[in-house]
């Protein structure tokens, strides 16, 4: 067991739906903190989520939480909270009744159910709406209620399948804050999404899934550095673009220099971003180079994802 938290481990995990491949040969360890599971629709995210929450039986391989198998092991759900993608409400119940019913299934006493319901509803900011019928809830409130049922038993591992799907920007901010607040010392949170900015807003630690396989995992910048086939692009906005370019063209790691006259920037392609920035900083300090802005247009999740899937 990892000190301060539980790990989710998948070993050579595969799932076929008949002849259709859902997930293939996935070996991964998800450690405490927030991890984003990213991939386009149909990539295998939901299959992976269902496998690690014991909803589907693996065709091959194993999934364990704290070294215990997940499949056919309901007791593991005392330590795991799961928020499914789709709505799953009886519309004519109140938020409190919905939550109490599910907590009752976990085997808590009536007093504990009341106590935990109150705490979970307060955590997601639904205490005032707790006794209203769910049919009157907005999309954001429903999403928060679903999250409340996943955290009401205070699990060590929280698994959220597309929790930001279909939310307006304000609701998204609230849910993102909730997820970040829940990540305390030692807790593991796994969030899936097919929307890059959503994952970027939540975490830097990502798992990229595409066509049933894991393309990459880890810190987004680390992954970017590993992609040798696509040099880093650095845009420098300066008053003397040509002078700056002249100082870099002789460097071995600089592959190309382009000028963007409309923006007033110089675009460098380099194989070694750290060395480039080190030299740029030295030039600015030693020679009084006038640098207005430095950006890395392809140092983001979208670019990394595009590079990895070969777009």
């Amino acid at each position: 067991m990892i000190p301060g938290g539980l790990a989710v481990r998948a070993d050579k995990l595969g799932k076929w739906y008949g002849n259709v491949l859902g997930l293939s040969d996935v070996s991964i360890e998800i450690r405490p903190g927030i991890t984003g599971l990213l991939g386009p629709n149909g990539a295998g995210k939901s299959t992976f989520m269902k496998l690690i929450t014991g909803q589907l039986r693996p065709s091959i391989g194993t999934v364990t939480i704290d070294n215990q198998p997940v499949w056919n092991n309901p007791e593991i759900f005392r330590r795991v909270g799961f928020c499914p993608e789709q709505d799953a409400f009886y519309e004519d119940t109140t938020g409190r009744e919905f939550l109490s019913g599910l907590l009752g299934l976990s085997g808590y006493s009536a007093a504990e159910v009341r106590d935990r319901s109150d705490r979970a509803l307060a955590f997601v900011g639904l205490e005032d709406a707790a006794d209203r019928l769910i049919r009157g809830y907005s999309r954001g409130m429903r999403q928060r209620l679903k999250i409340s049922q996943a955290i009401a038993h205070e699990p060590d591992i929280l698994i959220l399948d597309e929790p930001l799907n279909g939310l307006d920007p304000l609701s998204k901010r609230k849910v993102i804050k909730l997820i970040k607040d829940y990540r305390t010392e030692g807790r593991t949170v796994l969030v899936s999404s097919h929307v890059l900015p959503e994952i970027e807003a939540l975490t830097q630690s990502i798992v990229l899934v595409h066509q049933g396989k894991i393309l990459a995992e880890g810190d987004i910048h680390y992954i970017r550095d590993l992609i040798d086939a696509h040099p880093h692009v650095v845009a420098v906005k300066t008053g003397d673009g040509r002078g700056l370019a002249a100082k870099f063209v002789g460097e071995a790691d600089v592959l190309s220099v382009r000028f963007d006259e409309t923006e007033g920037t110089v675009l460098f392609e380099t194989r070694n971003r750290d060395r480039f920035f080190e030299r740029l900083t030295r030039l600015a300090a030693d020679e009084g180079l006038d640098v207005e802005e430095i950006t890395s247009p392809d140092d983001n999740l979208q670019s990394v994802f595009d590079y990895l899937v070969g777009k």
Binding site: G18, G54, L56, P84, Q86, D87, L105
Partner: protein
């Protein structure tokens, strides 16, 4: 000779000292002397109740009213992933639903049977009745459990076939009555008692007679009815195992 005086009657007997609690029962028995012909409980008496079309129809109606949406509603509301993300097994889920239905059905079957026996013992004031029919309590308990299990599984089976509780209710009633209608048609044409095996109601009545040691309505071995009803129950279990999936698998 008693002497009437101002509306009072002098009784020449002597009073017993102290009033024993069970004296109430003795008084009650005294009051009901002559009523015992209505309490002549025997296997035929039980069969008249347990094999009645009305009882079976009432059980069906209870299942239609309270059971048709038990699984259909959960499927419609996508509740299964939430339920099974709790420390809950499939058999806990199905067992819980089954238990709820069986509870109501046993109120209609087991409880009246127990009351019949208790009342008989109370009014007879002896256990001679049980000595005459020592197997009868086991029979009606067994039959109550069987018919309650049958209707519970029948309900869960049809409730799990779709996401709409109305369709499930219609299926439950239709399957029951259509089987009866077909039996009526075939029996009317061919006069063959074996056609009772296609009717849910007739199978239940045949088997109740077998359980309670009464003469069955049709001259068909009870084991066939038992096999037909058991096959429905086994089919229900198999279908439930397939239909109660935590995750919807899209191929």
């Amino acid at each position: 000779m008693a002497i009437a005086e101002r509306g009072y009657t002098h009784w020449p007997g002597s009073l017993e000292g102290g009033r024993r609690p069970w004296r109430v029962l003795e008084d009650f028995q005294e009051m009901l002397k002559g009523a015992d012909k209505f309490l002549h409980i025997n296997p035929a008496y039980f069969q008249a109740y347990y094999g009645s079309s009305f009882l079976i129809f009432m059980m069906l109606m209870i299942m239609v009213g309270s059971g048709s949406g038990l699984i259909a509603d959960d499927l419609r509301h996508n509740s299964l992933p939430l339920y099974f993300s709790r420390p809950l097994r499939k058999r806990d889920y199905v067992g819980g639903k089954f238990g709820a239905l069986a509870f109501f059905l046993l109120l209609l079957t087991l409880v009246p049977g127990i009351l019949f026996i208790l009342l008989k013992l109370l009014f007879a004031g002896s256990f001679a009745f049980l000595a005459d029919y020592p197997w009868l309590p086991f029979s009606f308990i067994g039959w109550s459990v069987f018919i309650s299990s049958f209707f519970s599984l029948y309900t869960l089976l049809l409730s799990s076939l779709g996401r709409n509780r109305r369709y499930a209710a219609i299926l439950m009633v239709a399957a029951y009555f259509l089987s009866d209608v077909f039996f009526g048609i075939f029996y009317g044409i061919f006069h063959e008692p074996a056609f009772c095996l296609i009717s849910v109601q007739m199978n239940l009545r045949q088997l109740s007679a077998a359980f309670l040691g009464a003469k069955p309505q049709f001259d068909v071995p009870w084991i066939y009815s038992f096999l037909v009803l058991s096959a429905v129950m086994v089919a229900a279990v198999l279908v439930l195992r397939r239909k109660i999936r935590v995750a919807e698998v899209i191929r």
